[in-house]
Amino acid sequence: MENNNMNLTLKVWRQKNADTKGAFVTYKAEGISPDMSFLEMLDVVNEGLIHKGEEPIHFDHDCREGICGMCSLYINGRPHGPKGAITTCQLHMRSFHDGEIIVIEPWRAAAFPVIKDLAVDRSSFDRIQQAGGFVSVNTGVTIDANSIPIPKVIADEAFNSATCIGCGACVAACKNASAMLFVSAKVTQLAMLPQGQPERWSRVQAMVAQMDAEGFGNCTNTGACEAECPKEIKMTNISKMNNDYFSAKLFREEGVHEHASSGE
């Protein structure tokens, strides 16, 4: 396998913190095995930097199996790199070739300020979920699970929306830095299920209002979000959310009050 190893040039965005300006810094990544994951390649570079007493390149990561949504990275102009339907941690170096120059940037969006180097602050996503991404049931008051039959096709569709990992690739891919795909995935999951009906109209309004307050851009239907989503969440979620949003605004304004009063 030794002879398959690659030498690469990395151009990495380095930025000390949110208050300082960043810049690209060039690093050599040598003897990289095609079996390494992209993040393992960065680990190797970082070990080298630490040995020289330099600060390692900071990036977010945790589960390294494509499900926690913590890893990000804008690689050669694409969120999560050149392959479709995977996160950066699942990207392997066999997708690159010897001598290649790889440009690595953080997610770029006003609502995702840089924390350090390649890591950004995505707490805006949490705040949108907190605004209404739930069914208001307390622990312990529930009825038998099988007393709510749900047609398999609907359950499967709701599941497809529910697979969102909250990584933010949709925002990074969008020229408007819109979060519509992320927000619509949760809105649609709950709007399709019987459990989500009581708060359906208030939920969509509350989550969209929070999305706007966080400074995400508008959707202009370019479809970059769907193309880059590692979990292949579909843009039809956005259409369904728009439909619910306008229904709620036009015909069900009282939903907002219901939501506010459900607070206490």
Binding site: N17, S33, D35, M36, S37, L39, E40, D43, E47, I50, H51, G53, E54, E55, P56, H58, D60, D62, C63, R64, E65, G66, I67, C68, G69, M70, I86, Q90, H92, R94, I115, K116, A119, D126, Q129, Q130, G133, F134, V135, S136, V137, T139, G140, T142, I143, D144, A145, N146, I148, P149, I150, P151, K152, A158, F159, T163, I165, G166, L193, Q195
Partner: protein, 645 residues
């Protein structure tokens, strides 16, 4: 040595929990808002506990080191969650789930706890469905089940291969609702570095803000540790990179006993290691063993050809294949418990019949299932797992068998807790994988999610109230000198770590520790090997504090510093695990002492001498820990040699 009392309620098994709930003191609804509770960790146990306690009216402060509570490692659980619903009419019951779990744990768990776990399992499914968790369903609209290792009924609820994700997002949504209502204050990118004791009671924690390095103290009437397991002591495991023992270990050094540390689970179906660059191992869900058949070549010659790539797996004739689990365990076949499946895979490799380039793997073959069910049906069940396997290995499991090998996955050991989930330190609780209580010496598949949510949704809301009612709602004195003293100790330790300017990276120490643990405290353990490991770990730890390099400063984002603190704790834990494994001269579940096996090579327990929980007490730096015992009484089940033949 002292004997510990687990405070298991008296009476018939099925009545213990109901009676206990009635006997527990209640906190008046108007008084609940006068109590503060700290919850560390936001996985299934932490998120469900924080949300449920906030719903009751307590003021909760929740902490996680990730950038969002939704990222906790529960999210990565694949296969499913057990519940004794008996929706399949196949003979399941609360008692059967209890019995399977006790037996699966090789009779090293408490009857009372395990029965309660089985009892509340049914409520968990109801709760999750009400939250909108999209479990798999049948065409009639009702919930689907599948079978899982170590059980002969179909009681596992699942959401494709992403059950942990969907359950965690359910708990996260309940948590979000309480954050929205102002009952939970959430601290993300914040790591707990110590627990504060006032007059022997837990009254707060010290944390480090991972963005700006600020060291802060937080006070509360009780502290709940829901910080997961310590599998990363092995360096390579299926845990997330950030998973660590620090919160539990800091609590241990403040007096909380650490129970059965050597009970670790090595999961049989993981993707094999490819090289030194490897940073983690990826699990392939146990559910794959429902349809996949495990085999190795019958002869060393064929294995050698497979290793060299001279022949492909598909070219090995049926009569040259050894479906070793089906051969040795005809009644359970490929569905034997994890410890049994793992040891048998190791045996094949030790017998030089392993496959793949390294020879350290066996096959998991879906050819039969694809032939029987069709590719689409197999894809509907396992599609995301097959995709994941392909991404990592560049091999297509639809056309050739997967290569799998065991990897560290879960730790049954953890902080000692009584029936109320209280550690021996009053006011300090441990939930989920962080505690030791329900899985004995081996955890059955789909039981971790069940335990995390049982502890958080259905146990702690009752048991914590009893403690809070006892101590009363008087505000905690956040100015007590213990807070500042503990904070200064945390700062001293950080400064000590930052002063290390040696020649070897923290990651290199971690990898060395992992090699020692895997070699001597992994799937097979001997007195000789463990004794050797103890010396090696102790020397490695001494070297760490002299020669490690820790770059950067405290007052900034500094993952090198975070990792250094965690590895320093793993270096201490590793030695305790070895001590525990050395003390336990029997084999049980995942703890296999070569000196103690049946003529057939199965784990041989020694119930006369080891039917106890080992709860280790910290006695100071470089002092031997003291062993305390909790005797396990089996009133209801008869202890037998586990057999899956």
């Amino acid at each position: 040595m002292s004997l510990l009392n687990a405070k298991i309620p008296e009476g018939p098994l099925a009545e213990k929990w109901s009676k206990h709930k009635f006997n527990l003191k209640l906190v008046n609804p108007a008084n609940k808002r006068k109590y503060d509770v700290i919850v560390v960790g936001t996985g299934l146990a932490g998120a469900s506990a924080a949300a449920s306690l906030a719903e009751l009216g307590y003021n909760v402060k929740a902490f996680c080191f990730q950038d969002s509570p939704r990222r906790a490692h529960s999210i990565a659980a694949q296969g499913g969650i057990n519940a004794a619903k008996n929706y399949q009419n196949d003979g399941d019951s609360v008692y059967r789930l209890f019995y399977d779990t006790i037996k699966g744990g090789d009779y090293r768990a408490r009857e009372g706890n395990v029965y309660r776990l089985a009892e509340v399992s049914v409520n968990i499914i109801d709760q999750c469905v009400a939250q909108g968790v999209p479990f798999a369903r049948e065409y009639g609209g009702l919930l689907d089940n599948r079978s899982f290792g170590g059980s002969q009924v179909s009681r596992t609820f699942y959401a494709r291969g992403q059950t942990g994700q969907q359950l965690l997002l359910g708990a996260y949504s309940a948590l979000n609702r309480q954050i929205h209502l102002g009952k939970v204050k959430m601290y993300t990118r914040t790591e707990m570095l110590d627990v504060v004791l006032v007059d022997g009671q837990a009254k707060g924690i010290v944390t480090r803000n991972l963005i700006n390095g600020s060291i802060d103290t937080h006070s509360a009437h009780a502290v709940l540790l829901c910080t997961g397991g310590y599998g990363n002591v092995f360096y390579l495991s299926t845990n997330a990179i950030g998973s660590n023992v620090t919160a539990a270990w800091r609590a241990h050094k403040r007096g909380a006993y650490f129970a059965n540390p050597c009970f670790t689970q090595i999961h049989p179906t993981c993707i094999p290691v490819t090289g030194d660059h490897q940073s983690k191992l990826t699990l392939m869900s146990e559910s794959l063993r429902n349809d996949g058949r495990v085999w190795a070549p019958k002869t060393v010659e064929i294995a050698k050809q497979l290793q060299k790539g001279a022949i492909k797996a598909n070219e090995v004739k049926e009569e040259d294949r050894d479906y070793f689990l089906e051969r040795k365990y005809p009644s359970f076949g490929n569905l034997v418990p994890r410890d049994v499946a793992s040891r048998n895979a190791k045996e094949m490799v030790d017998d030089n019949r392993g496959v793949g380039g390294s020879g350290i793997a066996v096959f998991l073959d879906f050819a039969d299932a694809i032939h029987r069910l069709g590719k689409d049906a197999v894809s509907a069940k396992y599609g995301n797992l097959f995709d994941m396997y392909y991404q990592i290995t560049n091999e297509d499991p639809y056309t050739q068998p997967m290569r799998i090998y065991p990897a560290v996955h879960y730790t049954m050991g953890g902080l000692w807790v009584d029936y109320n989930l209280s550690t021996n330190v009053p006011g300090l609780y441990a939930l989920g994988e962080c505690n030791f209580s329900d899985h004995g010496a081996n955890r059955l598949g789909a039981s971790a999610l069940m335990q995390g949510l049982a502890d958080g949704y259905f146990v702690i809301p009752y048991t914590l109230g009893d403690y809070l009612a006892t101590i009363g709602p008087k505000p905690v004195d956040a100015k007590h000198p213990a807070f500042e003293k503990t904070k200064q100790e945390v700062i001293e330790r950080i400064n000590k770590l930052l002063s290390l300017k040696g020649t070897k990276t923290v990651n290199e120490y971690h990898r060395d520790l992992g090699h020692i643990m895997w070699e001597y405290c992994g799937m097979a353990r001997t007195a000789e090997g463990l004794t050797k490991a103890k010396g090696l770990i102790s020397a490695l730890r001494a070297d760490f504090w002299k020669n490690a390099i820790v770059v950067g400063e405290n007052e900034e984002v500094n993952p090198a510093l975070e990792k250094a603190g965690r590895v320093a704790d793993f270096l201490e834990l590793g030695e305790l695990m070895v001590d525990d494994a050395l003390m336990r001269r029997e084999s049980c579940g995942g703890h296999f002492r070569l000196e103690s096996q049946t003529p057939e090579g199965e784990a041989l327990r020694d119930d006369d001498h080891f039917a106890f929980v080992a709860a280790w007490e910290y006695k100071g730096d470089n002092q031997p820990e003291v062993l305390n015992k909790e005797i396990l009484d089996f009133e209801f089940v008869h202890l037998t040699q586990r057999s899956y033949k």
